[in-house]
Amino acid sequence: NAGVTQTPKFRILKIGQSMTLQCTQDMNHNYMYWYRQDPGMGLKLIYYSVGAGITDKGEVPNGYNVSRSTTEDFPLRLELAAPSQTSVYFCAILDFRNVKNGYTFGSGTRLTVV
């Protein structure tokens, strides 16, 4: 039972390149989230999903896109990478039937845009 798996763990992109950050869960939780964490800062919500086929914007969605075709997978797409997107990206899941267990986070993807 891996919980939440994020790939890759590290990536360096050049300005203007695109990439997809992968997030896969094996806990069958409906709620999934993408947060970014800038150095020395808290986490900010990029996008979230309440189930397959349903996604919505968070606080900082510009420059990103998501899709949710299955319960397990919630990839985050960066188009035309910019230095401002240098950050650590965390995927998180929540069991809406038992919110008292809080979020389970993936191990994160550290992205540098140069």
């Binding site: 808290g42 309440v50 979020y103 986070f105 993936g106 994160g108």
Partner: protein
């Protein structure tokens, strides 16, 4: 709006106590607390729901004062393993059933415990 945590940093010796506060300008429905060690993902500690409840986890406990729109995290008899950055995450009271678990996180409090 982002909740405000205080203090920004605290340094302790093993066995000492600390309090970390999380204040919001909005009425809150719930408050989550997480601990993040350097280079790792945040780990869930506890959740407090409106009603002023207090919870405990090992020697870490927390309270939630709805009227003050504030939660406090209490760390007693600190251990080296308590070192890390502590974050609160909040759900506003007016979100009702549409919050979908979305959290707004504070900026974090860095806790360092020395031998």
């Amino acid at each position: 709006q982002q909740p405000v945590q205080s203090p920004q940093a605290v340094i302790l010796r093993e066995g000492e106590d600390a309090v970390i506060n999380c204040s919001s300008s909005k009425a809150l429905y719930s408050v989550h607390w997480y601990r993040q060690k350097h280079g790792e993902a945040p780990v869930f500690l506890m959740i407090l729901l409106k009603g002023g409840e207090q919870k405990g986890h090992e020697k870490i406990s927390a309270s939630f004062n709805e009227k003050k729109q504030q939660s406090s995290l209490y760390l007693t008899a600190s251990q080296l393993s308590y070192s890390g950055t502590y974050f609160c995450g909040t759900v506003p009271a007016n979100a009702g059933g549409t919050s979908y678990g979305k959290l707004t996180f504070g900026q974090g409090t860095i806790l360092t415990v020395h031998p």
